[in-house]
Amino acid sequence: MGVQIAFWLFAILVAGTALYAAVAPKIVHAAFSLMATFFGVAGIYAILGSDFLAVTQVLVYVGGIMVLIVFGVLLTDRVPEEYKVVAPRRWLPALIAGGLCFAAIAGALKSTVWPISSSTPLGDATSTVEGIGRSLLTDYLIPFEFASILLLVVLVGAARLARGQVR
């Protein structure tokens, strides 16, 4: 019962703040609304028992990515006319595209069979941290390394772009 209430609270938080992030008249308000969305998602992860994922969500999205977005907004957003982020002129194509995406995802969710098992996916690990650490460095080592190489490439590329013309 408590879990249900918590789930609905977080679900409402996520949906509400995500909606506000999309329609907020001021870009700073949209950014902070998005931060609340990320928090809500972390809460849902925590309810589902994946504490590591929840903490990582806060660490990476709220503490990292959103800070950079807010930082960018702080440095650029000084012109009152440009506060407007929502251009209501193109709402029809947006509605159609959004509706199609929603239909596709809803259809996929509906048609998938979700097996519910009472056994934990952790194996003999005592905590989620240990379980995730083990599987990342054994079964999923190659995807893990690929992800790190991708991030490294992005980092080098970003540095290259930021430096501009190389003499």
Partner: protein, 354 residues
Amino acid sequence: MDGVMNWLTQDRVGSALVKVLLVGNVAPMLVAFLVWLERRVAAWAQDRMGPNRVGPFGLLQSFADLIKFLLKEDVLPGHVNKAMYLVAPCLAVIPPLVVLALVPFADRFAIADVDTGILAAFAFSGIGVYAIALGGWASNSKYALIGAVRASAQLISYEICLGLAALGVFIVAGTLRLEDVVKMQADGFTIHGETLHGISKFFDWNIVKQPIGAIIFLIAAFAETNRTPFDLPEAESELAAGYHTEFSSMKFALFFLGEYVAIVAMSSLFTTLYLGGWTLFGVENAFEGTTAQTLLQILIFLAKTMCVIFTFIWVRWTVPRFRYDQLMDLGWKRLMPATLAWLAATACVVAFLK
């Protein structure tokens, strides 16, 4: 009395609430003492008297200041973004208090004993940036905005060093749980078949195993809490008071409180990670299984934390501040490579010893 402590150390909603009340009230009280201590140490360092009029040794000075803050007119400037302007001071206090909730003050005496301990602590201390960014932006004034940008850039830069330095501890400990990290520092490790006992258990503390990591962690902690030599966000000659220029009375007091709670939180994290937390060479088990044991452990923890806090104050009144480019150079070009090298060395040693 023993029953009370037993109940408190159990994992229940009620005991958690009581502990929240305890920590949530003791931490701000500690801050009042801290502000007094800071001013007295500053006076001692500069060879003057410091506050000594209100109460014995001026101990009640902070409460007089608090009353002053409460009685001042609460100005709401016309040019600010109201909602954000009011939220920012609250955001400054909440994250460091949440970090305190994760710290084990004694055996089984953390408010939230989570597997991801330190990760959660860093996640929440990282949110402190928002108070600064938001406060500076909502103030809608030049100095506040520039101050906010400068302060957030500093926090983001040193957060990386802070996290990387602490990572060394977890490579050694093999766990993220703060309680296990403390226990690991107290079991006395074995050299040539002989287990360390008594005072020699000092060599089991992480500050001995991770000296460079500890120093870097401390430096990054100074920068994270905006302390001299890194108190760039507040520069009277360039930025007025920085991001909180436009805040007055209790709203300013909240920023101030947040800053000091952050010092308490960082110091208790340092104590937990490097100084053996609530343990003291076996003394902590003197009253096995009684209330006195928990109280003694809390006392040991507080004493160690106070030593770290004193180091914070001591450094503030000893070292002159950096220039901003020196700050960034130190963070990115010196500390970060040094931390990475230290991490690699630690990992090699741990792998070799296994």
